[in-house]
């Protein structure tokens, strides 16, 4: 896979094959990368509402539901109970405390061409402040949606961020792919919480876990 040049990225944008919307000035395009901005929506974790997340236990509890769709719903509800959604406006601040992980999203909605994949890279400027901005970095060709960013404050002081801040870079690479196949996080418009329901092996692993009675 080869990284696209600045000219190639510009040409894709002009032809509408690569979509970054809204495209807010100043637009920063370098060899292979285009800057992306922090969006308005965040997901924080309700530390005071749960003891912690036990993935296998959550999956096992969901197994008690009678239908497949009810199991999926139960998993979403259980994971959703541990989080809170926050939306702020342009010009407002979101405070990220030391060690805190939040899910955020880009301000831009993205659509990748069928022949281009993308990685989200932390920007060095925000990285030097202590903010790491992505862990699930690769987006497949044909991705459409708002990428979820996992923001972590690794510094020892609180940091405030604001929508519109250039938070990361999209590294665009030529890719060869199968015919269009929607991914797990397609057409997303907000930060996405974990979707355990799509991990089929978790059900099998949960079945191996000793029962609570046995442990006692």
């Amino acid at each position: 896979m080869s990284v696209l040049s600045a000219n190639e990225i510009t040409a894709l944008l002009r032809r509408g094959e690569l979509v970054v919307t809204p495209l807010l000035p100043p637009v920063r395009i370098d060899a292979g990368t285009i800057d992306i901005r922090l969006g308005r929506h965040f997901v924080t974790f309700r530390k005071s509402r749960c003891l912690g997340t036990d993935v296998l236990e959550t999956v096992r509890e969901a197994e008690a539901e009678p239908t497949r769709s009810a199991k999926v719903d139960r998993l979403s509800i259980e994971v959703g109970r541990t989080v809170e959604r926050v939306t702020i406006e342009l010009g407002e601040s979101f405070v990220l405390h030391p060690g805190q992980l939040v899910l955020a999203c880009t301000l831009e909605y993205l659509a990748l061409p069928a022949t281009v994949g993308a990685q989200v890279l932390s920007r060095s400027t925000t990285g030097r402040l202590g903010i790491l901005s992505a862990t699930a970095t690769y987006f497949h060709p044909n991705f459409r949606g708002v990428p979820t960013l996992e923001l972590v404050n690794t510094s020892e002081t609180a940091l405030s961020v604001t929508p519109g801040l250039r938070i990361a870079q999209l590294l665009l690479e030529e890719a060869h792919t199968n015919p269009y196949e929607p991914g797990r996080y397609q057409l997303t418009t907000r930060p996405q919480i974990a979707r355990l329901s799509r991990d089929a092996e978790l059900e099998a692993l949960a079945g191996l876990r000793p029962s609570v009675d046995h442990l006692a």
């Binding site: 002009r14 919307t21 809204p22 807010l24 000035p25 909605y109 659509a111 459409r144 708002v146 418009t189």
Partner: protein, 457 residues
Amino acid sequence: MGALFPSLQGYLGARLRAIHQSVMDFESGVARLPGELRDLLGSLRQELDGVLAQYEEQLVEARGDEDVLSRIDTRYLSFATLAAYSADLLTMGTDPDELPSDLHAILVELFGPRPDGHVIVLRATESTTFQTYPHWRPEQMRPGTDLMSRLQGGDNRELWLVSVFDIPRSFRYATLGQLLVIGHELAHAQDAVTNFGYRQAITNEMQLPAESEADEAINALVVCWLDEVLADLASVRRFGPAAVLVFAEYARLVQAYGYEIPRVVWVREFAEHPPAEVRLHFMFRALDALRIGADALAEIAPALAAWKRLADVGSVVPGDALPELAAADGLVRGVFSRIQAQAASLVPAHQAYTEAGFARARVLAEQFAEGLAPSDRIDDDLRSTPVDLADLFNAAAIVRWSPRLLDQLMTTMGVMTDEALSDEHRRARALRQLDELLARAIEGQRLRRAWPKGLDK
């Protein structure tokens, strides 16, 4: 003359404090309030503070005179009732987390000239229907009672208008459906600023009879219907075909809930709105006035035609309706052009929807069907221009009522190949996704418009 009843002094003091506390609890429980609502709540708290202090002074001055205490009770009881109503109105269902995220800002932007002190408040309600009504902010509560006027230091009759929009809670995520608030309900709120001044002029011209009970019923209907038809026409003028289709579907939804089109004229709640058929008839006439060609509308022509057939049945309201409805219908049809002119004053020419707008919307509709959330256009220099809000709504409406484009969206989503899903499930998922994409596109469009200027260089 002695007082008939024991004094309410303990009760009233406690009630005023409780109202004050309820407002404080609400403010401290919500992380972020729209500035207008925050100011209004602050104003209400100050009002309660001031009145409570005066009330307690008055009690001391009364020196236990039961007659004086009774008169104080009367005055403060009316204030407490109004204050409680205001507190409920401003705190119940107004938490931004329960409301569509960009709707308040859009309403503020589209409202046009607003009188000093005008405030827009959105409330999420359990009702299935939308409602808009004017309310007077606290400064207005006091005129009418001597004590209140004196407390205020004068007789302040200046109008302070609060436009309250009640929105069914289920519409928080129904982004296309929010067109009903922006198009129709916004017009009601704009209309209230002029205290519905146009209504009197038109009814004077109609020279309505009011000699019999039946005539009075007709007159009452006409007055109510004028406002509703005006709001419908303003909505079509602002949003074009999308306004008609979204309204038609909503009318069907409301009927399904049992909120029948009016058949009983003496129940005011049911008589406020003309029958759906009549409203659609007027909306189609307003749509015709926009002169959007048949070719442009081809993609949604079957959907429009289905509703138009309903609107074209006969020349008056349905045959089984009461005579009063038919009479009111005829009278209101007679002043269509006057109502249309009033709608034009609410939605000025530069905001009126055009065929060019619909052509842009068709391009955006193709993008929605491909799973995009278009919020701006870019030129060869990568300079971006926000798309138009009305175009976005029309684009979503085109996808919603075009079988071809809805199928395309379902293909993009991957639900067409999911054999576990029925056709109805697929369709429901696609419509939900369409609402999400539309919300996202509106958000992007608003961000682009709010973005600082001068950064292109």
